[in-house]
C-alpha cells in the first residue's frame, strides 16, 4: 500500500519537477552515463581479455584447463597444476580460517561488551587493510624461516607417515601460502559474518533465553538464522583467497607442480601472472597468461555474484519480516 502511494507521489513529483526542467534531465543523464560506464567496464574487461587470449584459446581450447604441462620453452600451456595450486591453497586456507572467523564474529556480535567490541572490530578491519605486499614481506622474513626451522621439522617428525608432510623443509611452499592466506581471509569473513549475525533480530535471542537456553544455545539459534549470510561471507573470503597475488607469490615457491606434500612449492593463477607476465617474450606466452587472467576473472565473478546474492537475501529476509 505505502509503496504504491510512494510511487504515485514520485510520479507526481517527477511530472512537476523533472519533465519541465532541463537541468534535472541533464543531471540525471550525466550520472546515468557514469553508472552505465561501470556496467560497460565489466563487459569491456572480459572482452579485452578474450581478445588478448584469442591466440591461446584457439590453440588449446578447453584442454588449457586439464593439460598439466606448463612449458614456455616448448610453447605448451596447460594450467592444471596451477589451477590445482590455486584451489588447494584457497580451500586449505578457508578450512583454517573459517572456524576462527566464526569464533571472532560470534565474540564480536554476541559476547563482547560494547567497550571492547569497537576497538576489536577496528583491529580486525585494520588487519584487512594491510597491503598484501607487506604480508608477503613479513612472510618471507618471519613466517617462512619459522616454518623452515620449527613447523616443518616438527610436522614431518610427528606426522611424517602422511604424504602431506614429506619432503625437505624448505620453508617456501604450499604450507606458507596456506598460513598467510588464512591470516588474510580471516578479517574478511569475520567482519562480514559479524554484520550478518547482528542483522538477526534481537527477539530471536530473547525468545531463546526466555525459554531457558544458555548463551551458547541462543547463539546456535542465531547462527542457524544467519547460515546463508555466513556462507556468503565464506564465499567472499574464498574469492579473495583465489585472487590474492603478492603475498602468495612471495612465499609459495612458484613451481608448477602437483604434489600432495604441503612442503613442496606450488603455483597459483595470480602468482603465475605476477611472476611471468613481464618475462613473456612470445605472443603465445602472453596470450596464455591473459587466458589465465580470464579464467581467474570468470571464477571470481561467479563466486562473488553467488556470495553477494546470499548476503543480500539474508539481509532482505529480516528487513521484510
Amino acid at each position: 500500500m505505502s509503496s504504491v502511494k510512494k510511487k504515485f507521489e514520485n510520479n507526481i513529483l517527477k511530472k512537476i519537477f523533472s519533465s519541465h526542467n532541463l537541468g534535472d534531465l541533464i543531471f540525471e543523464r550525466l550520472t546515468l552515463l557514469f553508472a552505465v560506464s561501470v556496467f560497460l567496464l565489466v563487459l569491456l574487461m572480459g572482452y579485452e581479455m578474450y581478445l588478448g587470449s584469442k591466440l591461446s584459446i584457439d590453440k588449446f581450447g578447453w584442454s588449457f584447463l586439464v593439460n598439466s604441462t606448463w612449458d614456455p620453452v616448448q610453447e605448451i600451456y596447460g594450467a592444471l597444476p596451477i589451477i590445482y595450486g590455486t584451489v588447494v591453497s584457497s580451500l586449505l586456507a578457508l578450512i583454517i580460517a573459517l572456524p576462527l572467523s566464526i569464533g571472532v564474529a560470534i565474540y564480536l556480535a554476541e559476547v563482547a561488551p560494547p567497550w571492547l567490541e569497537k576497538p576489536l572490530s577496528f583491529l580486525v578491519e585494520l588487519l584487512a587493510g594491510i597491503p598484501s605486499v607487506i604480508y608477503g614481506l613479513w612472510g618471507i622474513f618471519v613466517l617462512v624461516p619459522w616454518i623452515r626451522t620449527d613447523v616443518e621439522p616438527y610436522l614431518s617428525d610427528k606426522l611424517g607417515f602422511l604424504p602431506f608432510f614429506r619432503g625437505a623443509p624448505y620453508g617456501f611452499g604450499m604450507l606458507a601460502a596456506v598460513l598467510i592466506l588464512s591470516i588474510m581471509v580471516l578479517p574478511i569473513i569475520s567482519s562480514i559474518s559479524r554484520d550478518v549475525l547482528k542483522s538477526v533480530p534481537h527477539s530471536q535471542r530473547e525468545a531463546a533465553l526466555a525459554l531457558g537456553a544458555t548463551k551458547w544455545q541462543s547463539t546456535i539459534i542465531v547462527l542457524k538464522d544467519a547460515k546463508s549470510g555466513i556462507l556468503g561471507a565464506t564465499m567472499l573470503g574464498l574469492g579473495r583467497a583465489i585472487g590474492e597475488t603478492m603475498a602468495v607469490t612471495m612465499v609459495i615457491g612458484n613451481r608448477a607442480l602437483i604434489s600432495p606434500s604441503l612442503f613442496d612449492p606450488s603455483y597459483t593463477m595470480a602468482s603465475v601472472i605476477a611472476n611471468e607476465f613481464t618475462e613473456a617474450t612470445s605472443e603465445m606466452y602472453l596470450s596464455a597468461l591473459i587466458q589465465l587472467a580470464l579464467v581467474l576473472f570468470v571464477i571470481t565473478i561467479i563466486i562473488n555474484a553467488f556470495a553477494h546474492l546470499l548476503v543480500w537475501s539474508m539481509s532482505r529476509k529480516w528487513k521484510t519480516a
Binding site: I130, P131, L236, M246, T300
Partner: protein, 283 residues
C-alpha cells in the same frame, strides 16, 4: 540429580564455547601485532631524512632513499583518483537518487562483483588496453588500473552516505522550488560529503597499497620521473623487488619502505580527517 547434571553440563558447555570465541578473537589479533611489530622495529633502522629525499643507490652501494618511489606512489594514486573519484561519486549519486529500477539493481550488483575481482586481473586489463596500444609501460596505465580498483569502494560509500541524509532535507529543498539537481548537489551531497570523503580516502589508501596491478603497467623506475607517459617507481613495487633481492641492505630497505607506506596511508587519513573536520565546523 539428573536435571541438575544437565543444568551444569549446559552451563559448562556455554561457558567453554564463549571462552573459545574469545580465544579466537585474540588469535585473530596476534598476526596483526606481529606484522606491526616487525614492520616498525625492522623498518625504523633505515628511516632517516635520506630515505625521503635521496634516490636509490646503484646495486651494491649501501644507503640511498626512495624519493622517486614516494612521489611515484602519489602520482599513481593521483591519476587513479582522477578517474575513480568522479566515476565513483557520480555512480553512487545515480544509484541513490534515481534508484529503484532493474538497471540500478544491476549496477549495484556489478560494483559489488567488481570489488571482488583480483587486482592482478585489473592489471592485465590495463596492460591490454593501455600498454599494448602505447607500446610501452607507463604511469598512466598503472593509474588507470588503480582508478578502476577505486570505483567500487567510492561508489558504494557514496550511495550509503547519501541514503543517510534525512529525507526531510530533500523535501525542504524541493519545497522551496529548487530543482532536483541543485538540491542534490548543494544540499544532499554537501550534507553527505564528510562520509563520501571517508570513502574516497579508503579507496585512495587501498590503491596506495596495491602492487599486483602495477607490476606490468607502471613497471617501476630506478630514476626520477614524473612523466606519466613513462614507467614510474612506486613504494609497493620497490618492497616486492627489494624483498626478493639477495642483498641484505635492500631487504632492510624493503622494511623501511613498508613502514613509510603505512605512514603515508596514515598521513593521508589524518589530512582527510583534518580537512573534513574544519569544513564541518564552518557549516
Amino acid at each position: 540429580m539428573n536435571s541438575k547434571y544437565f543444568y551444569y553440563k549446559r552451563k559448562l558447555t556455554s561457558s567453554i564455547m564463549m571462552l573459545l570465541t574469545f580465544v579466537a578473537a585474540l588469535a585473530a589479533i596476534i598476526p596483526l601485532v606481529f606484522i606491526f611489530y616487525y614492520t616498525i622495529s625492522k623498518g625504523v633502522t633505515y628511516l632517516n631524512l635520506d630515505f625521503f629525499i635521496a634516490m636509490p643507490k646503484p646495486v651494491g652501494e649501501p644507503g640511498g632513499g626512495m624519493a622517486n618511489a614516494i612521489v611515484g606512489t602519489l602520482i599513481l594514486i593521483g591519476i587513479g583518483g582522477a578517474i575513480g573519484i568522479p566515476v565513483g561519486v557520480m555512480t553512487g549519486t545515480y544509484l541513490s537518487e534515481f534508484g529503484n529500477n532493474k538497471f540500478v539493481f544491476l549496477v549495484r550488483f556489478l560494483t559489488d562483483v567488481l570489488s571482488g575481482i583480483p587486482s592482478i586481473v585489473v592489471g592485465v586489463v590495463a596492460y591490454t588496453m593501455v600498454v599494448l596500444p602505447m607500446k610501452h609501460f607507463s604511469a598512466l596505465a598503472g593509474g588507470i588500473a588503480l582508478g578502476i580498483l577505486m570505483i567500487p569502494t567510492i561508489t558504494r560509500t557514496t550511495e550509503e552516505m547519501i541514503k543517510l541524509v534525512p529525507h526531510s532535507l530533500r523535501e525542504a529543498g524541493l519545497a522551496l522550488g529548487i530543482p532536483k539537481w541543485k538540491t542534490t548537489l548543494a544540499i544532499i551531497l554537501r550534507t553527505a560529503w564528510k562520509g563520501i570523503a571517508t570513502g574516497v580516502l579508503l579507496g585512495l589508501s587501498r590503491a596506495a597499497g596495491e602492487t599486483a596491478p602495477l607490476l606490468f603497467t607502471a613497471l617501476g623506475n630506478r630514476f626520477w620521473s614524473t612523466n606519466i607517459g613513462q614507467p614510474i617507481a612506486s613504494l609497493t613495487v620497490y618492497i616486492y623487488d627489494y624483498a626478493k633481492s639477495p642483498f641484505e641492505d635492500w631487504n632492510q630497505q624493503a622494511w623501511t619502505a613498508a613502514l613509510v607506506l603505512i605512514l603515508l596511508i596514515s598521513v593521508l587519513s589524518l589530512v582527510f580527517r583534518i580537512i573534513t573536520r574544519s569544513k564541518y565546523k564552518t557549516n
